[in-house]
Symmetry: D2
Subunit: 340 residues, 4 copies
């Protein structure tokens, strides 16, 4: 890390900072410019770095401290020679593929989940999504069917062969999801629920990690590092929109971040256009845009009868809309050399 001193720092102050750096086990490297003295701190462990940045930043005569290394390691592009492919129930997500995961917001009944699974499979989706444990911002909203819902998803998988992705909202859910499904989804509001991340990591099952609604790319990759640091490399990042001043749509989908994340990390990254926009008519355009931006796939909501859905009625695609979209996606993906 680099410690930039304030303009008026004299020799005594430089020496105080050097001593603090050396006491912490760093080697100090002093560089005096015309207007500022800069001190490089070289050689300590990644574990100590964030803490020491705080400590040095709080010293008198220090203007600011700049990190040189990234605060994540296992998930960084530098940790591997190439981008990762994560397999979920035999279906690959990563380079060469554009993998579409589709299904209803929430599991509501056997009939509904089977109808959805058949429709999305026929249209070309490779995995089924559906929520059994729903996080709801109001205590008065529908909270999901729980384990019963997971069993219905498993039944839909048995019939269609589509692997299942479903959300766990608290550590106790993970065991159930492992039993009935193929990948654990961590929702946006839980991206920094560090206990949940650790237990999802320990399960060994693939994890779809949604970006927090106000999470920077760096925080998102640090959350992935929590999962990777307990030995689980099977992580799929999912951009689902961030909160900004623009509220004409529910969130602002951050698609330019896709090529950036692919420079920073070897993990595959997919896009959820349904929660970001909250509006059915917007979703197909964003799906095509995600493909253009280089995403590795989609997580998109499709419901056999959205007008009677128990949640997110306004954003779920109708089956015929989804089929039309997939036809277009296949042609565009072919131009880009990707298998759908």
């Amino acid at each position: 890390m680099i410690v930039i001193l304030k303009r008026n720092a004299g020799d005594e102050q430089v020496q105080r900072v050097v001593s603090a750096i050396e006491r912490a086990g760093f080697t100090a490297h002093v560089s005096r410019g015309e207007e500022r003295t800069i001190i490089g701190a070289i050689g300590t462990s990644p574990q100590m770095r964030p803490h020491l940045m705080e400590v040095f930043g709080g010293l008198p005569f220090v203007d600011r401290v700049v990190a040189v290394l990234k605060p994540y390691k296992l998930v960084s592009m530098e940790a591997r020679a190439e981008r990762s492919v994560v397999e979920v129930g035999g279906v690959p997500v990563g380079p060469g593929h554009f993998t579409v995961i589709a299904g209803p917001c929430a599991v509501e009944s056997e009939e509904q989940v089977l109808a959805a699974a058949r429709a999305v499979k026929e249209a070309g989706a490779r995995m089924l999504r559906g929520g059994a444990y729903k996080p709801r911002t109001s205590p008065y909203d529908f909270q999901g069917m729980g384990e019963e819902g997971l069993k219905l998803l498993a039944a839909a998988r048995a019939e269609t062969g589509l692997p299942v992705v479903t959300e766990a909202r608290r550590p106790q859910h993970i065991e159930k999801v492992v039993q009935h499904a193929d990948a654990i989804q961590i929702g946006a509001r839980n991206m920094q629920n560090f206990d949940l991340l650790t237990e999802a990591g320990q399960s060994g099952m693939p994890v779809v990690l949604k970006r927090g609604l106000a999470a920077t790319v760096e925080e998102w990759l640090k959350a992935a590092e929590y999962i990777a640091s307990v030995g689980n490399p099977n992580i799929i990042l999912c951009e689902r929109g961030v909160r900004t001043f623009e509220q004409a749509l529910r969130f602002t989908q951050d698609l330019a971040i896709i090529p950036l994340v692919k420079e920073l990390s070897h993990l595959p990254v997919i896009v959820d256009p349904s929660h970001a926009s909250g509006k059915r008519s917007i979703v197909p355009a964003v799906c095509r845009a995600a493909l253009g931006a280089g995403a590795d796939g989609l997580l998109v909501e499709v419901h056999p009868d959205p007008d009677n859905a128990l949640c997110d009625a306004a954003q779920q695609l109708r089956p015929e809309q989804f089929a039309g979209l997939m036809a277009q996606i296949r042609k565009l993906a072919a131009v880009m050399g990707l298998a759908v």
Copy 2:
């Protein structure tokens, strides 16, 4: 709720919307303007409202749906004749008081927590804060002392008489916090961890609910409603900065929201200036500003030796700074007719 139709909606479309409203158990009230037809939907249960707003919003010919009632009820100002006082270990937070809660970011040792407790008590704090379960954005950071830390806090309370506020990060922590402390703090990243909110509510212990770093006032009050809806009215709201484009300080402290929250809700609201700014030299000015804005108190970090703190070294006040600040706070509070 009010359903605003698109401009080109004809009689048949108006009728479809009216039918949907009536099927849902509402009474429809149609008002035709020169350019738009508006349909009021009167009389259904609060439970169904958010869902039906989604459903109606997704109908063709509907431009948008506007809520009339707030999505929270028990915590709203309309639910009570006057603002609430919440007592924590006998210390009041609410009208007529400006209650200062102070102590270190994390419990690090018996010596450290006792030194902090003595210093903040002598300077005039009425409660002690300190973290035993720390939420950390990186898996490589110090994660707190756990239950051992809670016992040290209880020992500091025994000596000083200061009630203790401390964070629970997951449902299992709540039982421990109830055993050793006086109020449960819910951190910003857990403001929408709905399972944690419910269990904190069920504990019956006072809850300090920090605002999520991208939470609107409405979402914050809905999170408080989760706690209140299981029968626990002892909630203290805590503004701790929100995430915005301005990153010269860590977060943007939203002080103008204090008088607004006091119009919307009867709950007391305090301010945490330490996490918001992340910078020691900024904290005293924000403490005075919080008092001016009408906050009911402060949650502020004070460490006997911040340069050697294991977390948040740059933001914790030194004991002598805190004592100077409290002297000033007492005089300003006297002008405003508040007991410190």
Copy 3:
């Protein structure tokens, strides 16, 4: 507009609000729900609406005022039966086309602008961009060549046949731009420079109106309305990224807004990926994403030798990168039925 009263508003208060509405020339339409009284205000002029929303919103007993009609009219989709095509020097921007406008950030020399114009034409761009009047956030930065730069752009047009789009920063520049170029660009920081908008409108020349860096869609369309309201319908909207908490890239490109703007307005909308990302390696992915999102074209920076550019060195594409991108864009546009 709809006036929602506070819960405790009695008959006398309802009457006061009704009187205020009627004094302002509206017809009042009272609807009493179980918990709230709502008053519709029907039939006044669009000119008075924003002002009266303020006035009614400030009355005691009023909870809030909701607009029914949009605050823009001429540029709204409701004002026309179909989406507009805007022609710039004979080149169409609008339905059926994906029009690429390319060239250097700033005009630096005759050699540079001619090299750029030839390269972008050969690769398939239909118009030339280049800045002669540069808005710079620091007084110490290069401010552009002024009218001399405009003449060089005109010379490049003479040779290549590409119409020219260039920025005017203040009213006096407009006359010069009209003399030498084919479309006036209004920069993001001038989106609410209302005098500049009015004079650009009065010029009659096509206007490329960039979205302000913190402008909502509604404010952007209101700024377009300024131009349209003085009789100039030739407006091309340009999304160039908005400012959010995420600063890993310079701005957050808001692509999901493209299909939304196409629902709200008949104006064509293009995307500037260069200023939004500020990073060359990100630009091609965003260009493809803009096409997928349904944009009507691109405004993209290409420089014959970006490493020696006088501004925005890090974001301008190299000519060979641009040619490769255009080859891919042509194939994707063909799938979507668009002429490039």
Copy 4:
């Protein structure tokens, strides 16, 4: 500035970067860590710095470039030994004072502006504000009285002795404002209207520079540097709220930035609570908070009859509210050792 190379940069790449730095007139200072090579670039002119950061940032093998020096100089705290006092018509703004500037949003009539001036003077304001040239987001809103309004302000000054602060929206207005008033206000939407800044600077008259609604502190100080760089040091910064995701109030007032700006710059900084909140009932709390935060004064809207105001009806204080607020402000300022 400091150039941080990518991890895989070899000797040849280091040499390329060093050569580029030396060609630009810098001295290069190479520091090889275990994982990264860092190159300091020492000794060039401030004019070239922002440009060269772009150029180096665009080089292959460069991870990122970090500025060491601030991009503003004349307005920085380092440029002076102490904080500045700016005098407007003989009234000081700066250390030791809490200067209240009050008056209506817009000048509407002789009667209105005189009534306002008398009321704010009697309550203790030291200057009069009032808009003659109004920037409006809709072309259909009231645009102000123009020069006629300036003359009414001058008449109010003649009667009350209060110096006048009023906005100039375009360069041509500045001459008129200089003729009739005592300080030029630059509005938030013009903070980066660089031509206007330059001409306001050249006028020599004190300038009240509002923060742009999405401007970082650094951009705000760079805008002030535009004014200072043409020889006008009489600048008063004014925080008026920034745009964030929270829209329960119109903007988010950023009060914690006040002590930060006072560390970074010697210029006085005041607070406008009226435009930030847009809501009369919120304004007094924010005024007290601004005092607590260390602001040097207020710019606050007061109207003799707000319910009939031609703009901002919901936010202007009634005269009796303002008088009550000033009584409280005087007592709090006395505690803080400030003259009101």
